[in-house]
Symmetry: C2
Subunit: 685 residues, 2 copies
Amino acid sequence: MIGAVFSSWNGKRAVEYREIEKIPHEWGTAVTVQAMVFGNMGTDSCTGVAFTRNPGNGENRFYGEYLVNAQGEDVVAGIRTPAPVNEYSKNSQSKQFKTLEKLMPSLYGELFEYQKRLEGHYKDMQDIEFTIEKGKLYMLQCRIGKRNGVAAVRMAAEMHAEKLIDTKTAIMRVGPNQLVELLLPMLDPKVELVTKPIAKGLPAGPGGARGRVVFSSHEAVSWAKRGEQVILVREETSPEDVDGMHKSQAILTSKGGMTSHAALVARGWGKCCIVGCSDIEINHDARTFKAKDGVVVREGDWLSLNGTKGLVYEGSMALVDIDLDKNQSYKVLMKLVDKVKTMGVRANAETPEDAKQALKFGAEGIGLFRTEHMFYGEGGEEPLFLLRKMIVSKSEEERRKALGELFKYVKKDVKDTLKVMNGRPVTIRLLDPPLHEFVPHDKEKLQELSRELGISMSVLKRRVIALAENNPMLGHRGVRLGISYPEITEMQVRAILEATAELIKAGKRALPEIMVPVTCTFNELTHQRKIVDLVYKEVCEKQKLKKIPYLYGTMIETPRAAIRAGLMALEADFFSYGTNDLTQMSFGFSRDDIGGFLPKYLDLKILPYDPFQTIDTDGIGELIRMGIERGREIKPKLKVGICGEHGGDPESVVFCHKLGMDYVSCSAFRVPIARLAAAQAAIGS
Amino acid sequence: MIGAVFSSWNGKRAVEYREIEKIPHEWGTAVTVQAMVFGNMGTDSCTGVAFTRNPGNGENRFYGEYLVNAQGEDVVAGIRTPAPVNEYSKNSQSKQFKTLEKLMPSLYGELFEYQKRLEGHYKDMQDIEFTIEKGKLYMLQCRIGKRNGVAAVRMAAEMHAEKLIDTKTAIMRVGPNQLVELLLPMLDPKVELVTKPIAKGLPAGPGGARGRVVFSSHEAVSWAKRGEQVILVREETSPEDVDGMHKSQAILTSKGGMTSHAALVARGWGKCCIVGCSDIEINHDARTFKAKDGVVVREGDWLSLNGTKGLVYEGSMALVDIDLDKNQSYKVLMKLVDKVKTMGVRANAETPEDAKQALKFGAEGIGLFRTEHMFYGEGGEEPLFLLRKMIVSKSEEERRKALGELFKYVKKDVKDTLKVMNGRPVTIRLLDPPLHEFVPHDKEKLQELSRELGISMSVLKRRVIALAENNPMLGHRGVRLGISYPEITEMQVRAILEATAELIKAGKRALPEIMVPVTCTFNELTHQRKIVDLVYKEVCEKQKLKKIPYLYGTMIETPRAAIRAGLMALEADFFSYGTNDLTQMSFGFSRDDIGGFLPKYLDLKILPYDPFQTIDTDGIGELIRMGIERGREIKPKLKVGICGEHGGDPESVVFCHKLGMDYVSCSAFRVPIARLAAAQAAIGS
């Protein structure tokens, strides 16, 4: 028997649990041997489990269940429906049972006092096991109770208000990822409990959603326009689908992994998303998909998704929406968080709407404004067309003309966001993707371009082919574009500085940070800085301003840039670590292609976790550390941050804090998570 | 006048010269002011330039030219044809002139003594300027004379034999790249001098060549089969052209840069090659190309190429071939080199022929045997077909069957080379390229595969598409293949160990080094080592051997592997730096795609040189240094080498020596160059 307890440490569920909770397998377990009491000695005996506060919503009410004439195992096994300990603990299934309070009022009173005392002693919500043997109450065990995110926040805030715990403890009580539950709507758990999913995929974007099935981005847009809620179902998504993805309630793909295009975009928006759902087979011609069990879902049919668990349900399921503004506990907790944390938290955002959302979530600035964003999605058609014109231009003259037309769009785009951010820093990344990414691939769009540009299809095609690359990730992109075509940098810098100047003259505040991407050597920064200096002088003169506020800095995203950070710092006011690319290049992993081997790597534990989700501290972390050290050796006050997916990952945020970064930046919806993680890091250090 | 001398430092040619010779621009120049003598005071006056030995071939004979009644400028300007100072100095243009020796015998005698004394004093060949003013000899200047490669080697060897210089000095006298002239045939310089080139491209592969023009690899092979010498002219080349490239005397491409496929392959073979020759326009339909000046060259026409300078000539020009075995000076010098150098030099080779060539050039082992080589070129069809079968296999069972058939080819391939190397180490890299690279792209070959495999074209196509990657360089390749499909590693290791065992049982010597490519973490090495251990045991038993000699090691080619080298060393007997990939990943430069921006980078001096030609010591060098330090901290005797293009670059070889590497490995033909550089590094350190 004692041996069985010891060996339970290696039970399948125990091992799995430790893996989820990251508890080392080598710790082992202990066994306490003690006298036994019996809850199954008759009707004056019972056994039960209770919580000092409601673990489902955090309310400060005693909550529990019990079974008369039973042992603890009977309660846990769930063979008999347990009864509520008090009125408050009643639910739809147990409401007809007699409460312990009514059945044994004095023993209940005793129990109530104990639980109060235990919580007071341990200063946290307790999960209590008790047994009544022939009218005598025995407390079997108490331990800190598990709770969901909503409850965790409420308990932390209320216990702090009750002065049961101090500020630091309150902050440490909530797991940063638990906040996800507060930030996203969820499928009604009660309904979900009694419904069978038709398919299961990877939980790429948490939260719940429901909508009518469409099979193309185009349909998603047009259905949404007429007020329909839709779920976009695709094999995979690409940048061309972004508009339709944005308009959908959720995205479901049959292929791709946790770092596929769909997963990344959805996580960025905090949108519900399930990817790699191989249980479904899409038939594009018939506009249907077939689920594993043969269920056929047609275009227009309702579907409900649990993105937190990766479950797909037929039909329209009720959603439980949570309004953050009404969640007082959340507000209280986050105020404490902001008092404690020392590292800034910014958001990645590219539109005034995103910026407003970011502010709502507590962002202190924008850490990544991708200029190329304006070419995708709503309103992007005209600028995209101009960009394409610029791309296929053959001469600097042609290119300058197209850039000239593009200028006003870029300026407006930048200005609108700077305005919303009202003086908070906005880091604007100069054009980054390889140009081929913007080129149209369908004949129709190519023909339109050829007509508009007045060049033949064959010439156009030749120019497009010339832009194609074998490894675009390592190709003609980032600052390399700005060096090959300085006029692109010039136009963007002019747009940024003029937008800033106009806002300042209108009495507003604005602080752009011009960021050069994909650098690998100091000389690139010098080259681009000369352009910035020149344009700055011109804009100052034109706008009759003595100075326009801005910073000039670089992404550190190639391994070489991290190694050469000392020199890079000479020309940069700030570094922003692009840990996505740094991870890609240092591991030699193309994020688009890791589907072929990463699952096996994780499965065989060759890698402990996906390095695109959590920073690989041993390898990438060392490059980051080296870069910061070397940069600050030259420029002690160098501002250092991180932008990209890792900025919203709690473990990575803690790591960034330890390295002495000034801020992390992540997708707006993950800002509260990052803030909490930053506060916990400040407490932990 | 003095000002003019000072400002000559900034003359266009001076600047260019400094750039070629890598002399810092900030050094500046000095001016010496002295009394003048005149060689233009009548027929008893003259002026001349002479060398203490022949700078053209190194012969130890006084060699020079002079002009009666002239100043130094007249000699240099070349307006009048100068006369020879002695019989030995006569050439076809000057043979009718009277020698100085005949004209002024006593002054010539005086000059002869001076030059002898000067060489004895400076212990090197002197370039002397003299003037005779009215019968009196003045020595104006002497300096170390420039010489070509052939002369440099001869002078070094002979001066050493004369005991004029010691061993170290002799070795330092020859620029490693000067050896190229001794190793490759050249166009006859006399003919070239009077012929106008029809086009100019980038000098990707030095040496001279002539042959008849063909426009496809297929034609190259079939023409070569019937004994024709051909030059392959293409826009670009790809791995599928390798056979035709190999069969050609030289390769000429209209596109691509110094690191294009054609350039790399040709340099590897030491084959004459000109790339990026935009002066020519290929018309595939007409089987012609048109040069800049309108010259049209047809298939079958003769062409001559100077790969050292990138010049293309019409017609068949004579070649000057040099037989190394007959070059006593070379042999003497290289013996000195091998005495002095401390670092090993190996060759990259994959066939018994390559291995023999490597040994001839003095290689001490093979540093890179690419297993995938066997699938290209002659005799590769059957193994390639089996490989393709393996690649499109759907199950492990299918894959194992195809691998089983492939086994004998791999074993033979490895065995033949191990045999030639006779106990010298042969580093065999496990399969490296992403599988998609091997898949046929033309319909015919796909159909053949579909017939043979008994699967439909649509299924086959789907499997092929599934293998395609966005960034294959960072994709499913190297050890990732060995982890996804351990049976591939298993088959290769079995082939290597069985080949070794068979040789040993036959009384031969063999030392394979099994090398795992593209690793980024220790766990990958552990995973693959388990396979090696298992197979080792099986082969020992099967072959009834107690032990089979082999080493197990890894390439260090991802930045992360260099950073984590400490742990990697735990599982590796050796490290081999793959500086090509390390450069690609650390800079974020795809070698296939740098054509779009690298020329501009070099032009603007954003990079001082092409990091794929010479190791970037500041960035990549630091990663290498870090990797060696960390690796040897764990395993002090860890064997460390470098394979890939940099191993044959003299500056990089010196750097590798400084870092304490055990060996460099480069293409066979560059082995003497690397040996010389290694000796110079040993002297310099």
